[in-house]
């Protein structure tokens, strides 16, 4: 059963939307006084392509539609991005994202299943999302449903053993409905990945685990869309798109300073960032 969803097809409009999402992330994390804006900004184009580029099939007014495609935010610290996307997709009122991290609000610091419509998994302890994705694929087979499952991985979490356990099982079960997208921004909490715990050769690792591997410019919506369409033809294998990204993308002084991981901008920095985002 194919579901036609309304999406913005033209690239300039998607780019505008990506800029709006960056501003949303800036506003809600600055207001909260904490959060992970830089980790959210690096994946903005990836989620824009998925949710608004005609890739994911979903019904915002029917969040538990059984045939929906699943999206699992394994890098749970990018929750502000997920919330902004879900709000703009119509899952809940836009104003709610500004309640991020407030007592009594369902907008948790990291996603918790059941708190907000559209959130498919509890994440935030890293390394867990891909296993959930494999479970969704195996479940779909038993339920005779034909949806795809997308998992956004962080690069740092690829240091976790569970990622490779789940990678092995996805290939074993020939999960060709499963697509991982790796937000490869090259930085983890305390520094450059290559310095802290190197992942390379990353593409080779995934290939050797039995995955179909593509690489993409993670800030190019046309490139992402092309790869996301292309991998749907792959049969018998899970696929990963290694999306090369820039942590903090869109705000120059955040891009050049990895210590922004896990902290919000000050009101003064936010003002500067807002001006920069609006100029671009």
């Amino acid at each position: 059963m194919k579901e036609k969803i309304e999406t913005v097809q033209n690239i300039p409009a998607l780019k505008d939307l990506a800029r709006e999402l960056r501003l949303d992330i800036l506003e809600c994390t600055t207001r909260a006084g904490s959060g992970h804006p830089s980790s959210s900004w690096s994946a903005v184009e990836i989620l824009t392509a998925l949710y608004f580029g005609g890739i994911l099939r979903y019904r915002a007014q029917e969040p538990l539609w059984p045939d929906r495609d699943r999206f699992i935010m394994s890098k749970g610290h990018a929750a502000p991005l997920l919330y902004a996307v879900l709000a703009r997709a119509g899952y809940f009122p836009y104003e709610m994202i500004m309640q991020l991290r407030q007592v009594g609000s369902p907008v948790q610091g990291h996603p918790v299943l059941g708190m907000l419509p559209g959130v498919e998994a509890t994440t935030g302890s890293l390394g867990q999302g891909l296993s959930l994705g494999v479970g969704h694929v195996l479940g779909s087979r038993l339920n005779h449903r034909h949806y795809r499952v997308y998992v956004l991985l962080g690069d740092g979490e690829c240091e976790a053993g569970q990622i490779w356990e789940s990678a092995m099982s996805a290939a074993h079960y020939k999960c060709d409905q499963l697509t991982a997208i790796l937000d490869y921004n090259k930085f983890q909490e305390t520094g450059p990945i290559s310095r802290e715990m190197g992942l390379e050769p990353l593409a080779e690792k995934w290939r050797s685990f039995g995955w179909h591997v593509e690489e993409a410019d993670g800030h190019s919506i046309p490139d992402l869309l092309e790869k996301l369409h292309g991998i749907q033809e792959v049969q018998g294998k899970p696929q990963i798109i290694i999306a090369h990204t820039i942590k903090g993308k869109g705000v120059s002084f955040v891009e050049s300073d990895f210590t922004f991981h896990g902290r919000a901008l000050t009101p003064e920095q936010a003002k500067k960032a807002r001006e920069e985002l609006l100029c671009n």
Binding site: T123, G127, G135, N143
Partner: protein, 327 residues
């Protein structure tokens, strides 16, 4: 001397064999039941489902984190996954996954911790699950069930399956004798059962210690001590009313469990009793040590989990009750 012999209980096969029967029964009854195995299905007996319903059995291999994650994903698809392995490996390796993906997500997944306690015996301390009550106790949404005999195993696996939400259930490698007759008791999440009536003391036990408690009660009866035995098979939620009734009516309690005393059943019973109706209490369980390899009966004796140990605790607590001048 076998467990339950003094109490005249009918011997049985190992508890895990009944888990095998029970999981097969629920899989047969409910097509939404799926079984996930951590490559120990031949030991936990979850493999009964592999033979009968291969399409609903998944050996995820020796990767407990992934095992739990996949189970949680399947629970999100409106299936009822039974995630099975040894308590030691599953709970300790995948505690974070059980916490986030199952408990915090409040998913309808079931967790079998097999080979609980020390009575797996000869394989030694690395394989023993002596901290499972404490670990699962740390997960606020996780219901906790501990069968004590074949009948309660068969019933509680079904209770867990039918319950909407996360449930953990302990199974054992050792044989525990028949305590219940089929169909006579309505087992439920949050329930408990008086398996012997008595006036002077209540022995609150779970798992194989229920049979030991009944043996102890038979021994104590010869000394003129009338012991009630309460099978506290639901560790979460706990049957607060039955515990407080026991405290009021018998005035003294002994808790007996095949688990560390710290963080175990007894510590939670004590919390309920001390705030609801304080009476003297004594505790039979494991001190702060790791156990060793050995024959299960030898281990129970060496680490003070026998009917004799329960009798000692009962005599002590009755002494304390008389000292306090309680009825």
């Amino acid at each position: 001397m076998q467990l339950g012999e003094k109490a005249g209980l009918k011997p049985s096969k190992p508890m895990r064999d009944y888990f095998g029967e029970a999981i097969l029964a629920v899989a047969r009854e409910n097509p939404r039941v799926v079984v996930l195995d951590g490559d120990l299905g031949n030991s936990t007996k979850a493999e009964t489902v592999r033979q009968a319903f291969p399409e609903r059995f998944f050996n995820i291999g020796i990767a407990e984190s992934n095992l739990v994650g996949i189970g949680a994903g399947m629970a999100s698809c409106d299936l009822i996954p039974w995630i099975t392995s040894f308590s030691s490996f599953l709970l300790c390796n995948a505690y974070d996954q059980i916490r986030l993906a199952v408990a915090m997500s409040n998913l309808n997944a079931k967790i079998l911790g097999s080979h609980g306690g020390i009575t797996l015996g000869k394989d030694g301390p690395t394989q023993m699950g002596i901290e499972d009550f404490a670990l699962m106790g740390g997960l606020p949404t996780m219901q906790m069930l501990v069968p004590c005999d074949p009948v309660s195993m068969l019933a509680l696996v079904k209770v867990a399956t039918d319950y909407q939400g996360p449930v953990w259930l302990r199974s054992s490698r050792v044989a525990a004798p028949y305590i219940y007759e089929t169909g006579k008791v309505d087992f439920k999440v949050g329930g408990s059962e008086i398996v012997r009536q008595g006036r002077d003391v209540t022995i609150i036990a779970c798992g194989i210690m229920v049979a030991a408690a009944l043996d102890a009660a038979a021994m104590l009866a010869e000394e003129g001590i009338s012991s009630r035995v309460l099978d506290l098979y639901s560790l979460r939620p706990m049957d607060t009313a039955a515990i407080l009734t026991a405290a009021r009516e018998t005035g003294a309690l002994v808790c007996a469990e095949e688990h560390l005393l710290v963080g175990g059943m007894g510590s939670n019973v004590a919390r309920i009793v001390s705030s609801g109706h304080p009476v003297p209490m004594r505790f039979v369980g494991l001190a702060d040590v790791y156990i060793e390899s050995g024959d299960p009966n030898d281990l129970l004796e060496k680490y003070h989990l026998t009917d004799e140990d329960i009798c000692i605790a009962v005599r002590e607590v009755i002494g304390a009750k008389e000292m306090a001048g309680q009825p």
